[in-house]
Amino acid sequence: MEFFSIIAITVGLKSTDMSTVLLFKSGLNAAWMIAIGSFILIIPSLLLVNSVLKKYQCKTILEVTQLTLGKPIAFVVAFIMLCLILINTATDSRSYITQLITINFPNTPLFILYLCFLALCMWGAKKGWETVGTIAWTTFPYLIIALSFLFFLLFKEAVFNRIFPLFGTGLWEIAKGSFNFIPLFSEPFTLAVMYPFVKGHQTYTRGLYSSLIFTVFLMVLLYLSYLWIFDYRSIGKITFPYNEAIRFVTIGRSITNIETFFITIWLVGVFVKFTVYIYLISRIFGFLFRIEEFEHTIIPITLLVFVIGLIPENNETNIFLVRTTTTAYVKYFILCFPPLLWAAAKVKEARAG
């Protein structure tokens, strides 16, 4: 159950940040289809990873790689994973904080907010995986309630005809876009590191697929709402679609600006997301360099994330640059790694049995 909420939060919040701009740029009207397409493309890899994990119960995916592919290759693989996730986290966190600052706190320096934010995520991650899961599970219903409230308010402003033309730029473009945006769903692979902590394979599988379907549904709905409110031409020009959307809604005629309420809920989700990320990074780091008590590495790793996040000087463009390059690498990693793993597992089985 906690697994469900963790996946839903980490993946779902991606629909509220700046990656939606990239999505809409390539897909225009049919950006929501891209999300579905990416999910479909990623299902085979997920299935492969699942089957490998089932064979080796009670081991994380990193240990499984060690067993199947041998130690040096596993080291390389894990190292690549670590680098990718690290850069991802740093750019992601920076982009979220930028979102918060630009609209709501125009006078505050990025440094302070970023520092406080990461300090809290670090403290949360230090408390352990059970605490993180518990927090995700406790706050998840309220996030959903707030989101549904938002949807309800958005529907009032929506113009449903803006969904046409249905396929936007064309089917081939959508397919290319889906391929390019596979990293949207890269979380389940990193979360496979926590496989032994979930009660059983059944719980894992069921939680994984149900939460992914739920998340895809959520993201699609959110993208559609952006489409309905701002037509596709404007979305390419808005850097923060979520923030604009929440400024747009009104309750009746007197309460015109309730965006602070939605910001609060959104912030809670963002905290959970980055607490999970920081914990995962430390775990992979601990595995890589064979540190048993990786919880002590959480503090230096947070500092590392902080420093890396501060490197891009200009907020928007540099983040987009870095993001697009990393997504390029991540998608190849995700597409190639599971089949490799599965094949190696099969080979090992054939050799042993």
Partner: protein, 511 residues
């Protein structure tokens, strides 16, 4: 150099304690000798008789047995009438031959004790000691009766429909108040003694079929690990055995109502009772034990849930209203409707202080009035109300030192904090309110969310006697789902799973 200093201190302390625990010359006198004169002199020396007037001895000759006997007792702790009628009278005025002293005495509990230390210990708790010439043991007769209150109404936890009895300072009466609600042979009371000098007794009460072994052992080991000279009552005991002594959040519940204690016993919790305290401790305690009040279950389903809804609303209002006011007026002015914004701006126009300073001043004065209200002697109680209302409220506003909006905010948050019944949780909420206020002043909504998440992380990682603090909400245990809201009584079929009881269902055993 440090080592030798500490060694000297330790040696000094152990020498002192050796000196004070009885005369070293009498170490050999561990058992009663049978020689009446020697024993009586020993006791007289021990209790500083006759300069200590609170120690009496009665010498007499047991009729028909022709033996001398001495009765020791402490008059302030014993029932004089019982001593007269049940002990002295039958022994002196008996007509028949007495062979066995125990059969001649009419008291309800009598036993023989051969060791002097234990006999002295029992004498100190109010029992009487009878020494008979020639016998190498003394008889301990139960005659304890100390002065105290009688059972009254509860003062801090009042209910509309529930029973109106509360604990008093005597442990026996407290145990009987609980026991009469659970008449079962599984109701177990264990006694432990703590405190080197004052020998306070701690009673641990549980239902042996329902309580969890782990929690019970944890409670006993923590109480046994206390190494102070005197732990007088429950409020001091709590601070010794709680999980995190410096934490803002309470982890052990103190209740003054026997019906609450009884319902906790039936759910598998462990209760601790002591003399000199009109409270009982409940272990393990989760957040929900502090949040619920007894009234929630005594009222009907809808009324009880309505009260709970009000309580959670009150909690949020207390915590968030002052900080939300600061965050919105300082950082997010666009969120208010224009009319409200103009009203606030107009009210704040003449005030010389920034909003947060004003709010802090008023909050501080409200807390001062509140503390004063608790300690003020009853005759001048109403004066505090007048002082508070007139001076701080009215005059402050008229002089434009504070704005009326801030008075409203502070009064609202202060009033809602009274909806939280439990004293410890009340303090927690009041203190966290200030933390939220400062965070909101520094960083607006972001600060508030930071503070809220920090609190949530802290609560989810807290454990009370091994049970997670937010159970059964967070780690999902099988339970009746009695967290923020409750169900119909007929639908509450499970005991809380986190107490790891042995019998999970509340329905009667069908056999």
């Amino acid at each position: 150099m440090n080592n030798s200093f500490f060694k000297k201190r330790k040696a000094f302390v152990s020498e002192m304690s050796q000196e004070s625990t009885g005369n070293t010359s009498d170490q050999s006198l561990k058992l009663f000798s049978g020689d009446l004169v020697q024993d009586v002199n020993h006791f007289k020396q021990l209790y500083s008789f006759p300069s200590n007037v609170d120690f009496m001895l009665r010498e007499f000759t047991i009729n028909k047995m022709e033996r001398r006997a001495v009765l020791f007792y402490i008059p302030s702790l014993t029932d004089a009438k019982l001593i007269d009628d049940a002990i002295i009278k039958p022994l002196i005025m008996n007509d028949r031959e007495i062979t066995d002293v125990t059969s001649a005495i009419g008291a309800s509990a009598i036993r023989a004790e051969a060791e002097i230390d234990k006999a002295v210990h029992e004498l100190n708790t109010g029992d009487s000691l009878l020494l008979v010439e020639g016998q190498r043991h003394a008889y301990i007769i139960k005659t304890a009766l100390a002065a105290g209150r009688s059972v009254e109404k509860p003062q801090n936890e009042t209910t509309l429909f529930g029973p109106k009895e509360s604990f008093i300072e005597k442990a026996d009466v407290n145990i009987s108040l609980i026991r009469k609600k659970i008449r079962s042979e599984d109701f177990t009371v264990e006694k432990m003694t703590i405190g080197g000098r004052s020998n306070n007794e701690v009673f641990i009460i549980y239902n042996k079929e329902l309580a969890s072994e782990r929690v019970l052992n944890e409670v006993k080991s923590r109480i046994g690990a206390i190494s102070k000279d005197a732990v007088q009552n429950i409020s001091l005991l709590v601070q010794h055995i709680e999980d995190r002594k410096r934490s803002l959040v309470p982890t052990v519940l103190q209740t003054e109502r026997p019906d609450r204690a009884a319902s906790f016993i039936e759910d598998g919790y462990v209760i601790v009772v002591m003399n000199n305290s009109p409270f009982a401790l409940v272990a393990p305690s989760t957040f929900w034990s502090f949040y619920h009040s007894g009234d929630d279950h005594y009222l009907r389903f809808i009324n009880g849930n309505f009260t709970r809804l009000l309580r959670i609303l009150a909690m949020f209002i207390t915590l968030f209203t002052p900080s939300a006011y600061i965050a919105i007026t300082n950082y997010h002015m666009e969120m208010l409707p224009t009319d409200l914004l103009l009203a606030i701006a107009g009210a704040r126009e003449m005030v010389p202080f920034p909003a947060i300073l004003e709010l802090l001043l008023l909050e501080l004065s409200f807390e001062l009035i509140r503390e004063a209200g608790v300690r003020v002697p009853v005759p001048i109680g109403p004066t505090i109300g007048i002082v508070g209302a007139l001076i701080l409220g009215q005059a402050g506003v008229e002089a434009n030192v504070v704005s009326p909006i801030v008075v409203i905010v502070v009064a609202l948050s202060g009033l809602s904090s009274y909806a939280i019944g439990d004293v410890n949780l009340n303090y927690t909420i009041r203190i966290t309110r200030f933390a939220f206020l400062i965070a909101a002043g520094l960083m607006g909504i972001f600060g508030m969310v930071l503070c809220f998440m920090a609190g949530l992380i802290y609560l989810t990682s807290l454990k009370s006697f091994g049970v997670p603090y937010l159970a059964p909400l967070s780690p999902k245990y099988k339970s009746s789902g009695d967290t923020v809201f409750r169900k119909l009584l007929t639908n509450e079929r499970l005991r809380p799973g986190f107490t790891k009881t042995k019998d999970l269902t509340k329905d009667t055993v069908s056999e």
